[in-house]
Amino acid sequence: MLLRHTTDKIIEREALTVNPAKTCQPVGAMYAALGIHGCLPHSHGSQGCCSYHRSVLTRHYKEPVMAATSSFTEGSSVFGGQANLLQAINTIFSVYNPDVIAVHSTCLSETIGDDLTQIIAKAKEEGNVPNGKYVFHANTPSYVGSHVTGYANMVTAMVKTFSMKSSTKKNQVNIISGWIEPSDMREIKRIANQMMAKIVLFPDTSDVLDAPMTGKHEFYPKGGVTIPELISTGDSKFTIGLGPLCTLDACIKLENQCKVKFDSLELPIGIQATDTFITALSRAAGVQVPDSLTDERGRLIDIIADMQKYLYGKRVALFGDPDTLVPLTEFLVALDMKPVYIVTGTPDKTFEDRMASILSTKVPEAKYKAGERADTFLLHQWIKQQGVDLLIGNTYGKYIARDENIPFVRLGFPILDRVGHSYFPMVGYAGAMNLVTKILDVIMDKIDREVPEEKVELVM
């Protein structure tokens, strides 16, 4: 038993986080920055930060992840990291030649008080940023929020730096993507394409972190939103932000900066959230919903109808990021399942309200918690008190799943022990089909494995 120390008795903890359901800001900033074409993320801090973020992204995507670091030393912690960043910008443009460097800070550089705006301005003044190239930054102190906050800050920085309003409006809709997989971003583009809606999706990590094997290592793979596209977002006619925690700030910034109105929606996970997204996109882009999408929706409902008795009443525990958990919980309720325990390490003031509106009448017994000490240790203690039939979360859920023999669907970040998440979406109707199939597979595999021999059913 890996988690043999976990008991059903809730231990009062004031200071301690055990087996966290979150990580720190900079990795989110790095992931978001990879969604710009030709961008080299840069970590302004110690070497270890950059190494850890690259490692965890590499393990999650099984793809090369390129990022540079300011390589702080004892001296930088005393005199500040300005010299390091100036040298880094110089080195990066002369050696790696990106279109853009996306700098993010770390707990160290924030605490010693490096002023990134000023340092980057100095680099420009000194002529170390070649013509047509960009350096921008997001402040991502690791001791505030979580990896989700870092993602949000980097996305907002993209708007702040690039979105520009010219004299002519463009017939296009911005879709600001929350933290989802390259597969999901690809799926959103596919949906928009089916609807013949012209969109600019950012960030966009498809064709960056799911690059095909060609025998060549592309330092800058072909995917990612381009700088001209980012600039043009200021002329778009509308913005849809998917996942409020990751994108609401960026939406507001874009409205203030360029007067582009917006809708802030949940991530399109499950039937209702996808309906909402497609309706919003259809309205914003002034396009019809094609039959092909209505058919997809029909096929999704068909699967659920066919298999409802295996879903009904099943108790589910889930952990991950708020923007994913909210629509996912809504979807589980729609599947007639009971999401009973939900934790996220990411602090989110709206989480409880959002969850309550979904769960208070349908699953009144549900427990949910966000922020400090809402970790997988707490989730496990709840599970020990009364068991569940399904666990959904990132790879770290496998300890609980194994100890408690719970069917387990991997969803979230990081997934270190399976493939597929970067190739098969969870958003949209197709993504929902994928999700419900995964859920059914693990639940039914357990039935097949464990029912008494005489009860083994060939036809299910």
């Binding site: 200071a15 070497q47 707990c107 094997m213 025998g215």
Partner: protein, 441 residues
């Protein structure tokens, strides 16, 4: 894109033609996509396998999250080391200090998990806000009556290598505090982390020779064994980069001699057994060592021959953490017909790079603290077929159509000892010969 940074020329050399001594132990250039990590990382990987101690990371959540059970260091008993504990510092802690939170977290943890000792890692930010970890540790130690040991590991205070030293300093605090009777023919195994159960293979060989294993530091490590480490007659050190400091300190303090060994490849493995037997000046032991080597050779060689025949003429590139391991790998690869054409490490030493230069064929590229662009260029130039490295190198190797073997944290099969040599050969064979590569041509 220039593959090689101008400032890095001194850190690259070639066997044979180039007489230049490689420059190493140099901080990375700011802005380089370096494959290196930090002080915290070094200390964490070294201490992590001590399974009945708790490892509390004092800092924002990231440092704990990224090092949560990422290294398959196996334990034969308790597994507290596989949990992730953090003080999860927030903005208010950064402003007002995290000492109270640290103390509370330690007390909560010790009550809940009943560990035999606690290691408290300070991270970058703690180094800057100036929490007095020492005094908190002393206080909790007095209260809970277990060793509570600070590990000084702010990331910016050096490289991963400095983290090894911080870990050794923490271990030093523990060594010498135990009071177990000494045993004859007893050794400590230093620098094996029991990845994929490798330590257990080595223990088996040593036991067959009549040697008593006093403490394993830190693979499958236990606090009590380490506290009694000073009772051993000999320290046998692998992964010298991480553990040599502790071995030297123990020689100075307790007069325990040490020897440096490698368990990778059959030559080095056999040498290790012979050298330990020779140290004890015991003919019976030496005879047993010879018997082990004879038996294992007889079993292994016919199996290896199959792989050697298939792999003859293949070329390998190596990029690993320390240069000492690279030496063993070059020899092990040679045994299965594979020529090494690129050798590099994150934190190698000048002496070891010199040995590598002597060992390798003319033209072999030798590099310190490399980066993906360089490595890709070297591989292309030398037409390597296989890459041996760690997590960040793997996907690059695959993308350019090379076979890959993880000789780092993510190895899933034991690669040490004679069994390990066979596993290594199988892994190299499987990846070099995989049919997938023919689809990329």
């Amino acid at each position: 894109m220039n593959a090689i940074l101008k400032d890095r020329n001194s850190q690259i050399t070639r066997a044979g033609a180039d007489t230049k001594t490689i420059v190493c132990n140099k901080p990375s250039l700011a802005g380089a996509v370096s494959q290196r990590a930090c002080v915290f990382c070094g200390s964490r990987v070294v201490l992590y396998p001590i399974a009945d101690a708790l490892h509390l990371i004092h800092g924002p959540i990231g440092c704990a999250a990224y090092t949560w059970d990422i290294r398959g260091a196996m334990s034969s008993g308790p597994e507290i080391h596989r949990m992730s504990f953090s003080t999860d510092l927030h903005e208010k802690d950064v402003v007002f200090g995290g000492e109270k939170k640290l103390e509370a977290a330690l007390l909560e943890l010790i009550d809940a998990y009943n560990p035999k000792a606690a290691f408290v890692y300070s991270t970058c930010i703690v180094g800057v806000i100036g929490d007095d970890i020492e005094s908190i540790c002393r206080k909790v130690q007095a209260l809970k009556q277990i060793p509570v040991i600070p590990v000084h590991a702010p990331g910016f205070q050096g490289t991963k290598k400095d983290g090894y030293r911080a870990a050794c300093e923490a271990l030093e605090v523990l060594v010498g505090t135990g009071n177990r009777p000494a045993q004859e023919f007893s050794i400590n195994i230093l620098g094996d982390f029991n990845l994929a159960g490798e330590l257990w293979i080595l223990i088996d060989y040593y036991k067959r020779m009549g040697i008593h294993i006093n403490a394993t530091i830190t693979g499958d490590g236990r606090v009590e064994d380490i506290a009694n480490a000073h009772k051993a007659q000999l320290n046998v050190v692998q992964c010298s980069g991480s553990m040599m400091y502790l071995a030297k300190q123990m020689k100075e303090k307790y007069g325990i001699p040490f020897m440096k060994v490698s368990y990778f490849g059959i030559e080095d493995m056999s040498d290790a057994l012979y050298e330990v037997a020779t140290f004890f000046k015991n003919n019976d032991m030496l005879a047993k060592a010879k018997e082990i080597v004879r038996l294992e050779f007889a079993r292994l060689m016919p199996e290896l021959a199959v792989y050697k025949q298939a792999l003859q003429g293949k070329k390998a590139a190596i990029y690993v953490g320390g240069s000492f391991k690279a030496i063993s790998l070059i020899k092990a690869l040679r045994l299965i017909g594979v020529q090494t054409v690129v050798v590099g490490s994150q934190t190698g030493t000048a002496d070891e790079y010199e040995i590598i230069k002597q060992l390798c064929d003319e033209g072999t590229i030798i590099v310190d603290d490399s980066n993906p662009a360089e490595l890709s260029a070297f591989v292309k130039e030398t037409k390597a077929d296989i890459f041996i490295g760690g997590v960040k190198e793997r996907p690059i190797a695959y993308k350019i159509g090379l076979g890959f073997c993880d000789h780092n944290h993510e190895r899933k099969e034991a690669l040490a000892g004679y069994e390990g040599m066979l596993n290594f050969a199988k892994e190299i064979y499987a990846t070099a010969m995989s049919p997938v590569w023919k689809f990329t041509k």
